[in-house]
């Protein structure tokens, strides 16, 4: 079979060939295996940073049992429960936020990293945008687009987000909720 040489940086070569060796594979076989899949993934629109992101998010998700559901279905389930037990539902979302803070803080100990972390998780959520913007040293603005397709879902997302912000020692001073969108202003607790 004809072979082609491709030039790579030494550092990349060292890391990659070390992995081939650790798996008892020839570098030729290992390279071909990976690059044939990579070529297909790249054609489908995947980039190295997107791949790195999902790899990281999956390793975090392994810490808990998760289930993936169509978001319209979840919106409908939320809307039903909202009609019969709104406070119970909002408390559930708040509790979920509080229970996830510990895991999030392992990935990003301070709030500045949440935007970057959200980019990795965005593929697991119907969220179009999650942005944390520092207003000054002690206050932030959080913008979410894609927080469900019903107002009830956006309200639940707010409860969840507020619990997470509280976990990072931020308190919400103001918020705006619309269908599918959420904007929150928060300040570092004890700053004012």
């Amino acid at each position: 079979m004809a072979r082609t040489n491709m030039s790579v940086d030494q550092k990349v070569f060292d890391e990659f060939s070390a992995e081939a060796q650790s798996q008892n594979k020839t570098l030729f076989a290992f390279t071909n295996e990976w690059l044939s899949v990579i070529s297909e993934l790249s054609k489908d629109g995947w980039t190295p940073s997107k791949i790195h992101g999902i790899g990281h998010s999956i390793s975090l998700l392994k810490e808990m049992d998760v289930i993936t559901l169509p978001s319209d279905f979840v919106d409908e389930l939320i809307a039903r429960m909202y009609r019969t037990d709104k406070q119970g539902l909002l408390n559930m979302f708040r509790d979920m936020g509080s229970s996830l803070v510990g895991l999030l803080k392992i990935a990003t100990p301070d709030i500045d990293g949440l935007s970057e972390l959200a980019k990795e998780f965005i593929m697991l959520l119907p969220v179009k945008q999650f942005k944390v913007v520092k207003q000054d040293n002690d206050s932030i603005e959080v913008d979410i687009v894609g927080a469900g397709r019903k107002k009830e879902s956006a309200e639940c997302t707010f409860e969840f987000l507020e619990a997470i912000l509280n976990g990072y020692d931020y308190s919400v001073s103001k918020h705006e909720i619309g269908v599918g969108m959420l904007r929150v202003w928060a300040y570092k607790t004890g700053a004012f």
């Binding site: 072979r3 990976w34 070529s39 190295p48 049992d65 559930m92």
Partner: protein, 198 residues
């Protein structure tokens, strides 16, 4: 920076060159970027096949506009709604089963392909086992699911979804065994004269 070489077989190198060109990158830049990511993923236990499966499942998720939630949380949501409107809840799961089947059928046109799709999704579902066995002509199937919720309500809902799924593939459930977290189902193709034996 010091350079080294990797060797590729002819077809692979052509593919890489073509893909790099379509992204307006040099082959070297493309290969450097990707091999670095591949080395990191490999260290974390990923293989090219597993990565391909994961990316396929993410693509499917995007098509379904899906959301990933802690399964305990979803169990609780289901349990509360079960106590309020059980039949309405079952209807929702049946509708979801039919809609998801329509999307899944693109990648899994036959019942036997469902195992592959389920395995791709395993990291995004709390399922421990999803096994499909068919007879030679695929007229009868047996499906075993372990990890279908931690409460009976969730498992019952998962059954409703699975039944709708099977209906979409042209199968009717003949027998079922449901316990907390586990489902065992025997189903036969609609209008098949080969019914499963007890």
């Amino acid at each position: 920076m010091a350079k080294a070489s990797v060797h590729l077989d002819g077809p692979s190198s052509l593919e890489i060159a073509s893909t790099a060109k379509s992204e307006e990158k040099t082959i070297k830049a493309f290969v450097n970027e990707w091999l670095l990511v591949a080395a990191k993923l490999s260290k974390q236990g990923w293989s090219p096949t597993k990565l391909q499966s994961l990316c396929d499942s993410f693509t499917l998720m995007k098509e379904m506009n899906a959301i990933t939630l802690p399964s305990d949380f979803v169990d609780e949501l289901i349990a509360r709604e079960y106590n309020t409107d059980k039949q309405g809840l079952f209807r929702m799961f049946r509708e979801m089963g039919s809609q998801v089947a329509d999307v899944v059928k693109i990648d899994a046109p036959s019942i036997h392909d469902l195992t592959k799709v389920a395995n791709e999704f395993l990291s995004l579902l709390p399922l421990k086992i999803f096994k499909i066995s068919t007879d030679g002509q695929e007229n009868n199937v047996e499906i075993v699911v372990v990890g279908a919720g931690k409460r009976r309500e969730s498992t019952e809902c998962a059954f409703e979804m699975l039944e709708a799924f099977l209906n979409s593939y042209g199968f009717s459930v003949a027998n079922r065994q449901i316990n907390v977290g586990t489902i065992q189902v025997q189903a036969s193709r609609h209008n098949s004269s080969n019914l499963p034996t007890a």
